[in-house]
């Protein structure tokens, strides 16, 4: 590799940083080669390492100049920074961003999985119509705890409102018909008690079942996504 090739590769590798930063860096290294002289060209290239390494160091510092003080270290092997792996430095296209969007479905991206689950909940009625049968059944079973919680929650709220309404109505009725009034109050109390029981049940489901269920779901989607990625790589 000669100077021209080195500079050309460096320019390509720096395609995804700002124009000013790129020009500044290229000017510095052009200057550097000029000052080193043709006789030292080979040794300068050898010591600089690869254009990838030079680009990685420049980008690591640009990315996080403050953190650079914490992560980067200048050792006898040069600048070492765990964040800047050389292989990740090559941009695929000119002017492309940092490539964050590609990382959307990486393993452990909980936000993506939650989004997928929410999406499934919303599209499940349509899926039922379109695909029908097995798939919707599977989705239904998968989402059973979800519906259980929603059902219990709505039921509890309805019972609570009904119970209080019954008590209020019962107090009113007491004036006219004492027996019916007391019975209505009693029914209201029962409804509230049932609502409290449902809320307790709901909490126990939320605590015991949901994390387990969620973990299984996450595993499932993880496997699904990971397999897809694996195939794509091959």
């Amino acid at each position: 590799m000669d100077r021209a090739q080195f500079m050309r590769e460096l320019e390509e590798l720096l395609a995804d940083i700002s124009e000013t930063e790129r020009q500044d860096a290229l000017e510095f290294y052009n200057n550097y080669f000029d000052d080193a002289g043709i006789e030292n060209e080979a040794s300068v290239i050898r010591d600089l390492g690869s254009p990838e390494k030079v680009a990685a160091i420049i980008k690591a510092d640009l990315k996080d100049p403050e953190k650079g003080y914490e992560y980067g270290e200048y050792t006898e092997h040069g600048y070492e920074d765990a964040r800047a792996k050389e292989t990740e430095q090559m941009p695929e296209k000119y002017g492309e961003g940092s490539g964050k969007e590609k990382r959307f479905f990486r393993k452990g991206n909980q936000a993506a999985l939650i989004l997928a689950v929410i999406l499934l909940v919303f599209i499940s009625p349509f899926v039922k119509g379109a695909v029908g049968g097995i798939l919707s059944l599977a989705v239904g079973i998968l989402l059973l705890p979800f519906w259980l919680i929603v059902g219990l929650g709505i039921g509890a709220v309805a019972l609570l409102i009904g119970g209080f309404a019954a008590i209020v109505a019962g107090i009113g009725l007491c004036v006219v018909m004492t027996g019916t009034g007391v019975m209505t109050i009693g029914i209201g109390c029962l409804m509230i008690a049932l609502a409290i029981l449902m809320v307790l049940g709901l909490i126990s489901i939320a605590i015991r079942i949901v994390p387990k269920w969620f973990r299984k779901m996450t595993d499932f989607f993880n496997r699904l996504l990971y397999r897809k990625r694996g195939e794509a790589v091959k």
Binding site: Y32, K53, Y79
Partner: protein
Amino acid sequence: MVFNTGAALLDAIVLAVVSKEKEGTYGYKITQDVRGVLEISESTLYPVLRRLQKDDCLEVYDMAFAGRNRRYYKLTEKGAAQLSLYRAEWEIYSSKITGVLDGQNVRADGVDEGGIG
């Protein structure tokens, strides 16, 4: 070298090297001077110079040399202040380390612990 050089120390060394030239000095020379005392790769210096320049510790100007433009680096007032801060800090730090390595068994509060038994 078995000891790693942190970013702050490297900043300090670069500022000291640049400060020696009143009229400023250029990238290649700075790198060679730093390499005179520290075994570091040539690729390490550019980000350091760029950062010091952004932090207003160094100023840059171009001057014609041998038919081309050469970029010179010069210490700013802020850079000079930063350098004297580094010098003071280094004095404290290095004397403590030297003290410990020389076998003076001194605690952090300066009280002599003495040997065992």
